[in-house]
């Protein structure tokens, strides 16, 4: 998968209409150091360096290079890890007094504490052993050290997620310390005090823990601390990345509501702070984040507020795109080119490099700026040489390869039912297997 990650940059050069990408990229360029946690998060959603989606690649290249150069940006290198690890060097130390700032970590921390306590190896007595086994400075040093020191050591790991895991492993002793002190909700309060000191570390810790907590796979959490002990760095990072999908990785970073430049989930005043509702809020924020991204993808949705209306627009857009594909495939089915092997190669190069819009063929602006501009009516009018079957096409199901195709075929033509199978089986398998 890594091989495919940035190879698709070329795709972006085809003149994609991702107009928002460059603008967003520019706007975030001035903020690399501080983290534009939220912006980078929304940006890195489809960042090619993630290996997730190639389409915004050229637009995001500056960001990608930035994030890759920055250590904290390592999180963006995680596939589907949409939110960069913010650099907490400065701001976190200031927030020791904030009463609500650390609430984000509590649900995950408390659950993690419980899990950690289950591990026999983590005991308050063996804390120093653990710290030494990790080959790290002891807890106190970690707590007081500035971020750069952590990052310097983390840089060796090579990936941000690895650094997260590395930090997470280092945090285990700290958590076990606190867990030993009070394995109760009181641990939250004590963690608050220590969190302010351990802010750079626990922030990543919180992210890692939120990853685990929200993944609802506690087995992962139990496994990973154990695994981290023997080997701190690289492999665990990749394992963690492999285990956790984009959804969970996003949870970690989205789980941190923004405090200054960072993403934090803050239990707002008057809201419940138990782990379930916080997880719910994290999930809702994730969904709203994706809705915002979709809003950028679908043209003409900048002013729409509201989930239902937005979903309607998305549905309309997907339907219209699918209908365009059907229309074009119908057109290609009727056209009969002079076939030649060379033509194919020339064509492919030409098509890949061409930046021409499709408007010339479909008879409308490819941008489709208006939300009601999906020219479904146009399709009906321009079907070549098949006027008798025109009324059938708007009824075509939107899904491909359904058995409904067979029914439709029968409804349309009273043809023999085996034709559809013939058409598909006879052609598809040799073509695409």
């Amino acid at each position: 998968m890594d091989g495919h990650e940035n190879e698709d940059v070329g795709f972006q050069h085809g003149g994609e209409d991702n107009l928002h990408c460059p603008s967003l990229g520019m706007s975030t360029n001035p903020l690399p150091e501080k983290i534009s946690g939220m912006i980078m998060s929304s940006v890195s959603m489809y960042k090619p360096s993630n290996g997730a989606d190639p389409f915004f690649s050229s637009g995001w290249d500056p960001l990608a290079s930035l994030s890759q150069n920055e250590n904290f940006g390592g999180s963006s290198t995680v596939s589907h890890s949409e939110f960069a690890n913010p650099p907490y060097p400065i701001a976190l130390e200031n927030q020791g007094t904030s009463s609500t700032c650390q609430l984000v970590r509590y649900p995950s921390n408390s659950s993690f504490v419980e899990l950690v306590q289950k591990l026999p190896c983590f005991g308050s007595g063996s804390f120093s052993e653990m710290a030494n086994s990790f080959g790290l400075p002891d807890c106190g040093q970690i707590a007081n050290s500035g971020c750069p020191q952590n990052y310097a050591s983390l840089k060796e790991s090579g990936t941000g997620i690895t650094s997260t895991n590395g930090v997470l492993s280092r945090d285990d002793p700290q958590i076990s310390c606190e867990g030993a002190i009070g394995s109760s909700p009181d641990a939250k309060k004590r963690k608050r005090a220590s969190d302010s000191k351990n802010s750079p570390v626990t922030h990543q810790n919180a992210e890692g823990e939120l990853q685990k907590d929200l993944s609802r796979e506690s087995s992962d959490v139990l496994k990973e601390p154990d695994e981290k002990k023997p080997k701190i760095e690289h492999s665990k990072g990749s394992n963690l990345r492999g285990k956790q999908t984009g959804k969970q990785a996003k949870d970690t970073s989205s789980g941190d509501a923004s405090r200054e430049n960072y993403i934090h989930v803050r239990a707002r005043r008057g809201q419940a702070t138990n782990s379930h509702s916080l997880a719910e809020r994290v999930r809702r924020e994730k969904i709203s984040e994706r809705m915002r991204l979709l809003q950028e993808l679908v043209p003409g949705c900048n002013k729409i507020t509201g989930k239902a209306v937005m979903l309607d627009e998305i549905i309309n857009y997907v339907q219209s795109l699918q209908q365009q594909v059907e229309f074009l495939s119908m057109k290609l089915a009727t056209v009969n080119p002079e076939l030649n092997i060379d033509i194919e190669q020339i064509l492919s190069k030409d098509i890949i490099n061409s930046r021409g819009g499709v408007g010339a063929i479909l008879g409308f602006a490819p941008g489709m700026s208006s939300s009601h501009g999906y020219p479904r009516g146009i399709f009906q009018g321009t079907f070549p040489s098949i006027p008798s079957t025109t009324p059938k096409y708007p009824l075509l199901p939107q899904t491909v390869l359904d058995n409904e195709l067979q029914n439709l075929f029968q409804a349309g033509f009273n043809s023999c039912p085996a034709v559809d199978n013939l058409g598909s089986n006879g052609n598809l398998k040799p073509e695409f297997q």
């Binding site: 890594d2 495919h4 990650e5 190879e7 698709d8 940059v9 070329g10 795709f11 209409d17 959603m45 997730a52 190639p54 389409f55 959804k247 999930r283 994730k286 994706r290 991204l293 993808l297 239902a308 979903l311 998305i314 549905i315 997907v318 339907q319 795109l321 699918q322 594909v325 074009l328 495939s329 119908m330 057109k331 290609l332 089915a333 056209v335 080119p337 076939l339 194919e344 064509l347 890949i352 061409s354 021409g356 499709v358 010339a360 479909l362 040489s385 098949i386 939107q398 491909v400 390869l401 033509f413 034709v419 559809d420 199978n421 058409g423 598909s424 089986n425 052609n427 073509e431 695409f432």
Partner: protein
């Protein structure tokens, strides 16, 4: 980081290029078959040809994406299991819904967007088994791929028509 850039500069490995190549090959194959058959212009034959091209477009796009995305995996799965009967397909969708409810939050009807979410699930391949969050992510990627598909197919049609 640099290796990624060098890979990206290789034009043969972008999604768009993979899709283009695969789709063109499929088109040529379909056309060769069509030429050999005599009755190529009845509505029935045209509809069959249309279906083949449409399936070819979707499968070549899914192959270009590979297994990275749930929707591409769903399309490839459907192609490979096309011979199964409808009962099995329905059973699989039921299991998919159970899986979705297990891992995702069950949203009740009163939630805003419940009905639309169901519609979207039917539109996006493989959407049955996804909770809202994954569904939105897959939808975004799917929209991008559909845009690519439309562009490439339009360009091909343009070239073939001249």
């Amino acid at each position: 980081m640099n290796p990624r850039r060098s890979i990206s500069s290789n034009p043969a490995s972008t999604v768009k290029s993979r899709f283009t190549n695969g789709f063109l090959q499929a088109l040529l194959r379909i056309n060769r078959q069509r030429i050999t058959s005599t009755t190529a212009y009845t509505p029935r034959e045209i509809f069959r040809g249309y279906l083949r091209v449409k399936i070819a477009a979707d499968v070549s796009m899914a192959s270009a994406i590979g297994s990275r995305r749930a929707w591409s995996r769903a399309i490839l799965r459907k192609v490979r299991s096309h011979g199964r009967d409808g009962a099995q397909v329905r059973r699989m969708s039921f299991l998919a819904m159970r899986k979705r409810n297990l891992y995702g939050n069950i949203k009740c009807v009163e939630d805003a967007g419940f009905h639309q979410a169901n519609v979207l699930r039917k539109l996006v391949p493989g959407g049955e088994a996804m909770d809202m969050c994954c569904l939105l992510g897959e939808t975004a990627h799917y929209i991008k791929c559909l845009k690519t598909q439309v562009k490439v197919m339009g360009r091909i049609a343009e070239v073939f028509s001249t």
